[in-house]
């Protein structure tokens, strides 16, 4: 699992590359727990190279979502592979989180 960050003004783009399972999701949790992340108004998660997600990976997003919402920070997923999106859908998380098709759409939503 590789996690890289890119900053654009008040937006942080987190790129996930690899597989998010019970082992690797610890890294993601650390990245999202970094106090600096609360200084941005938008968190965009590029899922293009995210090839797998298990409940542990979903759990990391579930556990941070309310904190971001309370701070009015938007969390937006984009470029998600169908098989990964399907895992969100099995639990109905696609209705509780913002998942859009591509970067342009993510930026548009983020700017609303």
């Amino acid at each position: 699992m590789k996690i890289t960050n890119q900053i654009k003004d008040t937006t942080i783009i987190i790129t996930l590359d690899g597989e998010l399972d019970a082992s690797s999701s610890v890294m993601l949790d650390e990245a999202l727990s970094d106090p600096e992340i609360m200084t941005y108004s938008k968190i965009l998660v590029d899922c293009n190279d995210l090839n797998y997600i298990s409940s542990a990976g979903l759990g990391v997003f579930i556990s941070h979502l309310q904190r971001f919402e309370d701070a009015q920070i938007k969390l937006i997923f984009y470029n998600m592979q169908d098989k990964v999106r399907n895992v969100f859908e099995i639990l109905g998380l696609d209705l509780l989180m913002t998942i859009v098709s591509d970067y342009e759409e993510a930026m548009t939503i983020a700017d609303e």
Partner: protein, 136 residues
């Protein structure tokens, strides 16, 4: 075809289990989504056994064997840790998890929704989890 794998109880070995399942299923005509769902269900059970039932003790092992009969896949996962108590299991309320920031507890829900049948058996020697999935 090799249909059995045994790994020690560390989370790092989950990848090996997923690769093993993927390789076994490569011969079946599954869509990307079907393949991913089945691999995920097995991964979830194994992660629970490694982390909760066996406290990530690398001196302990879990084993997985896969068979297929008349279009029904059967996964048999055996360990010697603390048995899963199905009677104490409650379906998660995801919105509540979000509200309180809960990290775990949605894995078995995924397994139940993906697989056609999920069974747990325990005796004095070992625990076995059976997962069944119709693919034809």
């Amino acid at each position: 075809m090799n249909n059995k794998i045994s790994v020690s109880c560390t989370k790092k070995n989950l990848k090996q289990i997923r690769d093993f399942v993927t390789e076994y299923l490569a011969g079946y005509k599954l869509t990307d989504i079907q393949m991913n769902q089945i691999v995920l269900a097995v991964d979830e059970i194994c992660a629970n056994l490694i982390i909760h039932a066996n406290s990530e003790d690398p001196s302990k092992n879990i084993s997985l064997s896969i068979t297929e009969k008349a279009g029904m896949l059967k996964f048999e996962i055996v360990d010697n840790g603390v048995a899963f108590r199905r009677s104490e299991y409650k379906e998660p309320n995801i919105e509540e998890h979000i509200r309180v920031g809960k990290k775990g507890g949605v894995g078995i829900a995924l397994v139940n929704r993906i697989m056609d049948r999920v069974e747990f058996e325990s005796n004095a020697r070992q625990n076995t989890c059976f997962l069944y999935k119709k693919i034809k």
